[in-house]
Symmetry: C2
Subunit: 215 residues, 2 copies
C-alpha cells in the first residue's frame, strides 16, 4: 500500500519528541488506510519500526492517539478556511478561495481528511463533537460573511452556510476519489460558480420569488 513511512533500521533509538512525531505519522497512515476499528496498535507500532509498548509510553491508549490526530487536522482545516476568507474583500473571490481551501485540504497530507470527514468512530461522543464542531466553525466563518452583506436572518444565514460547506466537502471528496477526470482547479471553479450564483444578490430576488410562490 503506501510506503511504510520511515521504519528505518529497526533498532534505531530516537529522542522522545522525535519518536513521538514519527509515531503520529505512522498512526495517521494506518488510521487513514484502515479506519479506527480495523487499525491495530500492533500494525502502527510495526510501521514505525518499533514494539508496541513504545506506543504506550507516548500515548495512554488507542483512543487518545486517534484524538491527537483528529484534533490536529481539524485545526488545519479551520485555519485554511479562515485564511481563505481573509485573503480578499471581494466576495466572489472569497467563494473561490474558500472552495480552493477545501479542495486543498482534501488533496493534501496523506488523505488525512478522512480522519475528519469519514471517521468510523463518530458514534463516540468525543469524536462526534470534534467533527461537528469543526464543521460548524467552518460554517460560522462563512455565515459571518453572508450576514455582513445581506439582510438575511441569522438562522437562515447559518443554514445556508451549512449547505455550502456540505457542498464543498462532498464535491471535494468526490473529486478526489475520481481523480484524473477533471483537474483540481477546474473542479473548484465549477463548484465555486454554482455556489456564487446561489448566494450572490440573494436579497434582490427574494421578495419577487416569495410573491410568486406565495401566490
Amino acid at each position: 500500500m503506501t510506503a511504510p513511512s520511515d521504519a528505518r533500521a529497526r533498532g534505531t533509538r530516537l529522542p522522545r519528541v522525535r519518536r513521538r512525531r514519527q509515531l503520529l505519522a505512522a498512526a495517521q497512515e494506518v488510521f487513514v488506510a484502515r479506519g479506527y476499528h480495523a487499525a491495530a496498535m500492533d500494525e502502527i507500532a510495526e510501521r514505525a519500526g518499533v514494539s508496541k509498548p513504545v506506543l504506550y509510553q507516548h500515548f495512554p491508549g488507542k483512543l487518545e492517539l486517534y484524538l491527537a490526530l483528529l484534533e490536529e487536522h481539524s485545526e488545519v482545516l479551520v485555519e485554511k478556511q479562515r485564511e481563505a476568507l481573509e485573503s480578499t474583500d471581494d466576495n466572489r473571490q472569497r467563494v473561490t478561495a474558500s472552495f480552493q481551501a477545501y479542495f486543498d485540504f482534501v488533496a493534501g497530507d496523506g488523505e488525512a481528511f478522512r480522519l475528519v470527514f469519514e471517521s468510523d468512530l463518530r458514534n463516540l461522543p468525543a469524536v462526534r463533537e470534534k467533527s461537528e464542531q469543526t464543521f460548524q466553525r467552518c460554517a460560522e466563518l462563512i455565515g459571518d460573511v453572508i450576514r455582513q452583506d445581506t439582510s438575511i436572518s441569522d438562522e437562515e444565514a447559518h443554514l445556508l452556510s451549512i449547505a455550502l460547506v456540505g457542498m464543498a466537502e462532498t464535491s471535494a471528496r468526490y473529486w478526489l476519489n475520481n481523480h484524473g477526470s477533471v483537474p483540481q482547479d477546474a473542479a473548484e471553479q465549477l463548484v465555486a460558480r454554482l455556489a456564487w450564483r446561489g448566494i450572490s444578490g440573494w436579497d434582490l430576488t427574494r421578495s419577487a420569488e416569495e410573491a410568486a410562490s406565495g401566490d
Copy 2:
C-alpha cells in the same frame, strides 16, 4: 432511549417471515443507535425478545444482517428521489421536490438514514460501494435533468449534481440534528432556493463570467 420495538411476551413463537421482519426492525434500532461496531448481536436478539441463535437462523452473520438493512434503505432513497423528479416537468418545482425527498428521507423511518449516510463500516468495500452507488444514482437522476436543459458537458453536469446532492444530504442531516429551530418546509425551501439560483439559467451567464474572469 427508543422504545424496545415490540419484544412482547418473551416466549411468543412467530412464523418465520414475521420473525424475520421483527428481527430486522430490532436490528435497525440497535444499528442506528450504536453504529455497526458497537452494536452487539446479543442486544439485537434481546431487543427482539429472543435468543441469539434465532438471529443466526435468519441471517448468516452480523454483516449480512447489516447489509440487508443498508440495501433496503438505499433503495428507498433512490426511489423517493426518482419519484420527486418525475412528479413535475417544471424544473423549479423539481428542485423543490428533490430537496423535499431528501428531507423526508432523513426525517423518516427511525433515523434509518444513518445507515446510509453515517455508516461506521464504510471501510468495508461492500459497504463503501453500496453507499457510493446510492449517492451516485441520486446524482445521476439529477444530472440527467440538468443535461436535458443546458449545453453543459457530461462531466461538468455530473460534478454539479454531486455538489447538489451533497448540499441536500448535508443540510438535511444538519437540520434534523438541530430540530426545533426551523420547521422542515422552511429549511427545504431555503436550501432549494439556493440550489435553484445556482443552476437556473446556467448557460446564460457562463460566457459572460468566463470573459470577465479570463480578462
